[in-house]
């Protein structure tokens, strides 16, 4: 399985929804504390397990997240630690990039998510406690959702309801929003500690998973959010990111500060179905390909990006 070495510490990895061999990697210098950042666009070589870099974009501050546009195959957006959102176009030469710089957040932008159904808008989650809604054709945000009491770490669009999204925050709650409504429609006090990530089940639009600093992943049904549907324990440290499989109903993948990437089936008693500990530092980014079933990628503070097929050893060559 190929590995890609980045000069900076990795923060996020995303598969392209248009090209099954393309990924975007967000990296930040000095663990994201202080320094520059870089967005890598890499390609999986068709001949052998090699990852080639297509283009890289340097930023003044660290890049915390990256998301591909669902409408334009060459466009991606990057969340920058200085509070701005940069829009890049890989079809243009690097000197023409970025094509947009959207600066509205007061603090670091930590999460991005592109609307997979409507394909025209995206959300940004920031440490200034707010979530903003954007489109590529407008220089200013369409809406600002400010209700959280602390940093918002992650946002996720609902795969079925194009106007519904969820936000996970450091105030230990997950809020469900509808862009047509002025405020949040539901508040799930899911954990006793900060919630770092949330994701909707692609096949059951009422199921949402939350990952928290308390090392657990909880699956909630929004119709009855008092009690979680399932609690997944197994990580040794805070769970940084989770993602439901686009291909399988019950499958979700998670990465944690215990340097492992875990595969879960929450409908099974023994939910942990796979564990990959190829990273030698915090594993902070993981993604499952929408186009290729079973293809997954992960990155971490050890400055490595792994792409492997589920069931195989990421470090195998």
């Amino acid at each position: 399985m190929p590995v890609f070495k980045t000069p900076f510490n990795g923060y996020s990895v995303r598969f392209s929804p248009f090209y099954e061999s393309r990924l975007a990697v967000a990296t930040a210098q000095n663990f994201g504390i202080l320094g520059n950042g870089r967005v890598h666009v890499v390609d999986l070589a068709p001949t052998g397990p090699v990852i080639n870099e297509l283009v890289a974009f340097d930023t003044a501050d660290g890049v915390y997240d990256v998301a591909w546009s669902e409408s334009h195959d060459s466009v991606l957006v990057a969340a920058i630690a200085d509070g701005s959102i940069k829009v890049y176009d890989t079809a243009l030469p690097p000197q023409s990039n970025p094509v947009r710089s959207l600066k509205e957040h007061a603090r670091e932008v930590h999460g991005l998510d592109y609307n997979p159904t409507r394909r025209d808008s995206f959300l940004s989650a920031s440490w200034d406690d707010s979530v903003k809604l954007w489109t590529l054709d407008r220089p200013a945000s369409l809406r600002t959702f400010r209700e959280h009491a602390y940093c918002v770490y992650s946002v996720a669009w609902n795969p079925k309801h194009a106007d519904v999204f969820a936000s996970a925050s450091g105030d230990c709650t997950v809020r469900i929003w509808d862009v047509r409504e002025p405020g949040s429609t539901m508040i799930i006090p899911g954990h006793e500690h900060e919630i770092l990530s949330c994701d909707w089940n692609k096949y059951d639009e009422c199921l949402i998973a939350t990952a928290s600093v308390d090392k657990s992943i909880k699956i909630w049904d929004v119709r009855n959010y008092r009690v979680p549907v399932s609690v997944l324990n197994g990580h040794g440290y805070a769970v940084r990111k989770i993602k439901f499989s686009p291909h399988r109903r019950n499958l979700l993948v998670s990465c944690s500060y215990d340097m492992t990437v875990c595969l879960w089936d929450f409908m099974v008693e023994d939910a942990l179905v796979g564990r990959y500990d190829h990273h030698t530092e915090f594993a902070v980014g993981v993604d499952l390909s929408v186009l290729v079933d079973g293809l997954m990628a992960s990155t971490g503070w050890d400055e490595l990006v792994y792409v492997w097929q589920q069931g195989m050893d990421p470090r195998a060559s």
């Binding site: 000069p7 510490n9 929804p17 248009f18 099954e20 000095n30 663990f31 994201g32 504390i33 202080l34 320094g35 520059n36 052998g48 974009f57 003044a60 501050d61 409408s71 334009h72 195959d73 060459s74 920058i80 200085d82 940069k86 176009d89 079809a91 243009l92 000197q95 023409s96 990039n97 970025p98 094509v99 947009r100 710089s101 603090r107 670091e108 997979p116 159904t117 590529l136 940093c151 770490y153 795969p159 450091g170 900060e194 096949y203 440290y237 805070a238 291909h247 019950n250 796979g274 564990r275 929408v290 290729v292 079933d293 079973g294 050890d302 792409v307 097929q309 589920q310 069931g311 195989m312």
Partner: protein, 387 residues
């Protein structure tokens, strides 16, 4: 002697009313009538109760009686009037005639009137003079007193002013002393503050070294650093709020704690043209996380940070037309499949139609058919990858 005149004189003298008058008046009256002395004496001899012409020898007793009577009646009059009754008594002694009460009453009335007159005189003339004289004296005394009192007031005012001046001088001296003492105290405080600052710097360095030693053995993560970022930029508070869990790691293991100091991430970016995609740097071992944190706390910038201008060169750059139409998501396909009620072929076949699949498609469970929407399968997850 003229008998006729003597007879008339006798008739005259025998008149009772004449008898009350003094002898001298009778004799005078008779003399005025033209009688001689001998005739008058003859008349007097003929009158039965006529008074003796020789007053001294025969009427001494009667005159003494008259005098005693007159004295007794006049005595209450007082001394100034004593001369008058003496005169009258002498007059009456010369003629041994009978005094009646009328003479006493008249004398008393005369005395009373004289007394009243003298009193009136006194009141009108002497008393005003006395009063004015007394008033003058009194006024002089009052002036003297007022002059004395004014002088005393002035003296008192002067004394009070002197005392006030003295007191103000004292207070000024006291305030000057206080100012001096405050200055001295301020100097002492400055010295104390400098020493405290030195102590704090020493404590900080000590704590940093202690935490470095701890971090070499610890591995943990907690997102509570976000709280510390918002509270202060002090590195000490950041470090103190992270939870530390012991875990065995090699010494060269990079640090585990995540921090983000606010306010230090903004750099002045200079214009730097983007070069061709650089090769990833190789051979540079990443610095320890704690070392980077310590550097930042000391105010040093970690090495390798460049000024990058990442602003869009053309903010109005139009977005390109999409080259590929968006594909349906697997779950949307599954929804369609469920609604349509029949399965479709796998949509994830390569666009170029090659039978040989790229390396990332080769996996254990692939059989060319997407089993979307199904439940879990025991063998579909492949091997459990253990360490």
């Amino acid at each position: 002697m003229r008998e006729e005149l003597v007879e008339m004189a006798v008739k005259f003298l025998s008149n009772p009313t004449v008898g009350t008058s003094p002898v001298g008046q009778r004799r005078l009256f008779l003399e005025k009538k033209g009688l001689t002395g001998d005739e008058i004496d003859e008349a007097f001899c003929r009158v039965p109760d006529s008074t003796p012409s020789v007053p001294f020898r025969q009427d001494i007793n009667s005159s003494q009686d008259v005098q005693s009577k007159s004295f007794a009646s006049v005595q209450p009059q007082g001394a100034p009037q004593s001369s008058q009754p003496l005169v009258e008594s002498m007059l009456t002694v010369s003629r041994p005639s009978r005094f009646s009460w009328s003479y006493a009453i008249v004398s008393i009335v005369l005395l009373i009137f004289s007394g009243a007159g003298t009193s009136m005189l006194l009141k009108k003339l002497f008393l005003p003079r006395l009063k004015s004289w007394i008033r003058k004296v009194v006024l002089e005394e009052d002036d003297d007193e007022s002059r004395n009192s004014k002088q005393s007031l002035y003296k008192e005012a002067i004394k009070a002013a002197k005392a006030a001046a003295v007191a103000s001088v004292d207070t000024a001296k006291a305030s000057l002393q206080m100012l001096q003492s405050n200055r001295e105290e301020g100097r002492h405080f400055d010295v104390l503050l400098r020493r405290l600052g030195a102590h704090i710097a020493e404590l900080r360095s000590m704590s940093i070294t202690v935490q470095r030693l701890e971090s070499a053995r610890n591995a943990s993560y907690k997102h509570t650093d976000q709280y510390s970022q918002r509270s202060s930029q002090n590195g000490l508070s950041n470090l103190s709020k992270t939870s530390v869990v012991h875990r065995d790691y090699p010494e060269n293991f990079p640090g585990q704690m995540k921090f983000r100091t606010s306010g230090v991430s903004n750099f002045d970016s200079s214009v730097r043209p983007l070069s061709a995609p650089p090769r990833p740097s190789v051979g540079q071992h990443p610095n320890s996380y704690m070392e980077i944190m310590a550097k930042i706390q000391r105010g040093e910038k970690p090495p390798g940070i460049k000024d990058i201008n990442d602003s869009p060169p053309n903010p109005n750059q139009p977005l390109p037309n999409p080259q590929i139409t968006p594909r349906l998501k697997p779950w949307e396909i599954a929804r369609q499949q469920n609604s349509f009620g029949h399965t479709q072929e796998k949509v994830f076949s390569p666009p170029n139609g090659e039978s040989r699949q790229p390396w990332w498609r080769r996996n254990n469970n692939t059989n060319g058919i997407a089993d979307v929407g199904n439940g879990m399968r025991g063998d579909s997850y492949g091997l459990r990858t253990d360490k």
